[in-house]
């Protein structure tokens, strides 16, 4: 069946079995291999992409459910010549090692800052009515869906602080 997806600002028509996950559609049908598969079960975050401004695990959703949706993958965030602020912060703070979880971390972190800006509370937020402080605990909690076995976690938190304009720890 045909599904029209707006991926990284470009309209793409997908022809695939309706059981195709968004992740497999990106990787196998659309040639966008930046998003990674670490578990295919929504348990690791390697496949995180941004759909209509919200981060989701692309392995847990079917591509055909996203007809007309705006999808941003890591390929759409920045280019080698012009890295996004989050990508730049990962360079500055050495926020990765093997790089496999990194596309998911970057998409997740980018959308996460947006959630904070919009005042969505998390499990770590002291005040549920919004306006939370972007503490390390807040960042770690909000990023806890993105596994990194290389455990670049401390540097990822630093990178996110930096990208959010929170300065050095």
């Amino acid at each position: 069946m045909d599904t029209t997806l707006k991926i990284n600002g470009e309209e793409r028509v997908l022809q695939a079995d309706p059981r195709t996950s968004l992740l497999d559609a990106l990787r196998h049908h659309l040639g966008l291999t930046g998003s990674k598969k670490g578990c295919d079960h929504g348990q690791c975050g390697a496949c995180t992409v941004i759909v209509n401004g919200r981060r989701i695990n692309s392995c847990l959703t079917l591509a055909c459910m996203h007809d007309g949706d705006e999808i941003t993958t890591v390929e759409g965030l920045g280019t080698p010549e012009a890295l996004s602020p989050m990508q730049q912060a990962f360079v500055t703070h050495d926020g990765y090692q093997c790089g496999y979880c990194t596309p998911g971390q970057i998409c997740s972190a980018t959308a996460m800052l947006e959630e904070v800006a919009q005042g969505w509370p998390s499990h770590a937020s002291a005040d549920l009515s919004g306006g939370m402080e972007l503490t390390d605990a807040e960042i770690s909690e909000r990023m806890s869906g993105n596994l990194c076995r290389c455990a670049a976690y401390p540097n990822i938190v630093d990178a996110i602080r930096d990208a959010a304009g929170k300065g050095e720890r």
């Binding site: 295919d40 790089g99 770590a124 290389c150 401390p154």
Partner: protein
């Protein structure tokens, strides 16, 4: 002043742009024209006899190309084991055959029985469901103790029993150790489990096999830490393909941690099937498949006894370890509980008498092999836990007891056959006391108490043997391979360099740190150097990356090759400047004649090498390319001291890590930023082992922790901020860079540090009866211990149901 280039600079990673923009090229990103997909039908029982396999219905299903069973591999070699151990009685270990696809019997959950090759993965999976396999289920041996009892079912019918080997080290010390222990003023005994872990690199394993009709050449793309080793093992021992007809490529690899060292059946299958099916065959592991087919780590059960004299000097040490091998011998499995473990039992201490006995056991579980640290974490854990217990029993400060027994003179020959070349254990301990702010601990403990929490401080000192290894030595110890490393340095006419190294980077940042070394040696910018690795078609025969060996061994090979380049370039420069070769100096990319103002640039010399118009052709060849193989003279011995402060909630048993400090001595450091990341990663994995992770089997051999919902991986909110320091540097004395290796330190040193801290917190809270809790220290286990229950017998204990062993 921090440097901005060369050795010692925190150069930013050059893999950055590729990885951060989604442009990395990992094995699963490779798709070959016409490729078919394979799905493995795996055993869902731990032990059984295959009575029949009927593939007829499946074969007729849409898209099926071919279905393979064990019978297709009868004429082919098994998956080989690369290390042979000799038992105390002089017999070599029992070594079972490890077929590519199960034949006759299945021996663990996940053992592959059939392989379905189809046009799409979905079709392969559907067809696999239509295969009728009949298995007569046999009782499974999971518990190591039961596996060794006389009436235990045998994992391998053709072996005598389930004992792989019974290793004694150093056998000649045995009686003296027994005597010293029986005569000691004090003996501290501890029994413990080193829990079974799964390495879990975020990238699952992938293999793509390809075969060219016209030439008969094979190519395997695989997620490997050592493509040359795979080429050798698979080519020579399994498929009988000579190396010149087999190319193995390991492109970007998403983490390894040991588990991607080994040669796996799926690699051999895809390579074999590519020819059999006349088209490329691809396999990508699912996460659950990874849990039941990637080699696991650890799984030791140990009894350790430490003898002390009346002045608290360590006088003898005796251990008995049962090491789980799983159902088959993985590539380096036999070496882990023996040479990578027994030789480290001296730790940082001058204990004069040591005896280590290791019984390796076959069970119906996934094979166990090296995982980050491999053997050395097991040694450190036992030693540092028993020393802590001894300090508590004797009422002495744990730091003082350690310092009193530290080795302080180097080189030091231990009673377990290794010679530490250099180190300064008091220096790292001093540094630790400073960065861990030991002075402020009591205040913080008071503050925790006011909030109803128990705070504890755990410390540890460690040593590891890295940079493996001198080939002649490991050959004597049973290795069936040499452990040198290689590098080819190719200088181009315009002065840029390409280094083809046998080391493999899967997160270690070689593309960044290796050029720093060359930049320092020649005095040219780092971006004039490119690192090529991971392809047997380009790099010379190399042994790959594990055992923290890349810089110490691979980097040394690169230095040797670069020295040859510089020597030749000096000859050319001497000719160009009509000077004597002995007077030529190289600095900042300029060759000059000592005592004159004559000079010629690096680029002019490299150009002359390839455009040899004015060139000493009678003395030297044109071109500028050199290869070196470096075989180390000894292991390297990184060491250090770690401290952890935990807070324990007595209401729930929940442990949180409040502070963590690491003072490491890695010798010289090339890129401090990369070293810091490596230490963070190792510590996080060690914390995972100590508090979260456990690979568990039930008594029937079902793997009950085969997803991330059941196997607790450390997440961002479990990993504390850490203070890491590597300013204490005693450079390695036998490699040209003076480096020791940093990749495994964190995973080796942190588990006992965390457990010591929790036990300390419990004792401070009045729970003085709790001498030990087995890892992982989950809230449930801690809470049960506090209620007076048996902390060792927590559920989900996996194969360490053999806990009673040695009791």
């Amino acid at each position: 002043m921090p440097k901005d280039g060369g050795i010692g600079a925190s150069s930013k990673r050059r893999e950055d742009v590729r990885f951060l923009t989604g442009d990395g090229r990992y094995t699963d990103d490779i798709n070959l024209a016409g490729q078919a997909h394979v799905h493995f039908l795996r055993s869902d029982v731990a032990h059984g006899r295959i009575t029949s396999i009927d593939t007829s219905e499946a074969e007729a299903m849409p898209g099926v190309v071919r279905i393979f069973t064990g019978a297709d591999f009868e004429a082919i070699g098994g998956i080989p084991c690369g290390w042979q151990i000799t038992s105390r009685d002089g017999n070599v270990m029992q070594e079972p055959k490890h077929p590519v696809l199960a034949h006759g019997k299945v021996r663990h959950v996940g053992d592959p029985i059939c392989a379905v090759v189809a046009e799409t993965l979905g079709q392969a999976r559907d067809a696999a469901e239509a295969i009728m396999v009949e298995i007569d289920e046999l009782p499974a041996v999971i518990d190591m103790k039961k596996a060794l009892s006389g009436d235990a079912p045998k994992v391998h019918d053709d072996l005598e029993n389930n004992l792989c080997y019974d290793w004694g080290f150093v056998e000649e010390n045995r009686e003296a150790v027994d005597k010293a222990i029986s005569e000691a003023a004090h003996v501290t005994t501890l029994e413990l489990v080193n829990n079974r872990l799964v390495a879990n690199p975020m990238e699952p394993r992938v293999a793509v096999g390809d075969w060219a009709k016209s030439t008969g050449d094979y190519t395997l793309y695989t997620t490997s830490q050592n493509p040359h080793v795979i080429r050798l093992l698979m080519g020579a021992f399994v498929l009988g393909i000579p190396e010149h007809k087999l190319r193995v490529v390991a492109p970007d690899v998403g983490g390894g941690f040991g588990t991607k060292i080994f040669h796996y059946a799926e690699e051999a299958f895809c390579t074999f099937a590519a020819k059999a099916c006349r088209r490329p065959v691809k396999w990508t592991s699912t996460r659950s498949e990874a849990f039941m087919s990637d080699a696991h780590g650890r799984d030791h059960v140990t009894k350790i006894e430490l003898a002390l004299d009346a002045e608290n000097n360590f006088t003898a040490l005796r251990t008995l370890t049962h090491a789980n091998m799983g159902a088959y011998l993985s590539t380096f499995a036999p070496s882990v509980p023996t040479w990578l473990h027994g030789t480290l039992m001296a730790g940082n201490y001058k204990t004069p008498l040591i005896y280590v006995n290791v019984k390796a056991v076959f069970t119906n579980t996934v094979p166990v092999d090296a995982y980050r640290g491999a053997g050395r974490p097991e040694a450190t854990y036992q030693l540092e836990r028993v020393i802590d217990k001894a300090a508590r029993e004797l009422g002495v400060d744990p730091v003082t007891l350690r310092r009193q027994n530290f080795i302080t003179e180097f080189p030091y020959a231990t009673p377990v056959a290794v010679e530490y070349d250099t180190g300064d254990y008091n220096a790292t301990m001093d540094k630790l006391e400073e960065i861990g702010d030991f002075a402020g601990f009591e205040g913080r403990a008071e503050e925790s108490k006011r909030r109803g929490k128990l705070r504890g401080l755990g410390i540890n000192s460690y040593i590891e043997a890295c940079g493996i290894a001198p080939s002649n030595l490991v050959g004597q110890l049973g290795a069936r391979a040499g452990l040198y490393e290689s590098a080819t340095v190719r200088v181009n006419a315009t002065g840029g360099l390409v280094v083809m190294t046998g080391s493999h980077s899967h997160g270690q940042g070689h593309e960044t740190s290796f050029p720093q070394v060359i930049s320092e040696m020649i005095g040219i910018p780092e971006d004039m150097v490119e690192i090529v690795h991971g392809d047997t078609a380009t790099a010379p025969m190399g042994m790959g990356t594990y055992g923290s060996r890349s810089l110490a061994v691979g980097g040394s090979a690169m230095v040797r090759a670069t020295e040859k380049i510089i020597n030749k370039a000096k000859k050319i420069a001497a000719h160009l400047m009509e000077a004597s070769e002995e007077d030529i100096e190289l600095k900042d990319g300029q060759f000059s004649v000592a005592g004159t103002d004559k000079s010629v640039a690096w680029g002019d010399v490299t150009l002359a090498a390839y455009v040899p118009h004015n060139y000493p052709l009678e003395d030297i060849e044109p071109g500028l390319e050199e290869t070196a193989f470096y075989d180390p003279a000894n292991f390297t011995y990184p060491s250090g001291a770690y401290a952890c402060e935990v807070e324990l909630d007595p209401e729930t048993g929940v442990v949180t890590i409040e502070r963590f400090a690491a003072a490491d001595d890695f010798g010289n450091v090339v890129n401090p930023m990369i070293v810091e990341g490596q230490v963070h990663g190792g510590i996080a994995q060690g914390i995972g082992q100590a508090l979260l992770e456990n690979c568990a089997y039930d008594e029937n051999g079902q793997l009950v922790s085969a997803t991330y919902m059941d196997y607790a991986m450390p997440r961002a909110d479990n990993v504390p901020f850490m203070t890491v320091d590597h300013s204490c540097q005693t450079p390695c004395t036998h490699n040209p860079l003076g480096v020791k290796g940093c990749g495994e330190a964190g995973a080796i040193a942190s588990p006992p540090t965390v457990v010591n801290a929790v036990i300390d917190a419990l004792h401070r809270g009045g729970h003085t009866g709790i001498a030990h809790i087995d890892m992982p220290l989950t809230p449930q286990r801690v809470w049960a211990a506090m209620q007076g229950g048996s902390p060792e017998q927590g559920e989900g204990h996996g194969s360490a149901g053999a806990r009673q062993l040695g009791a």
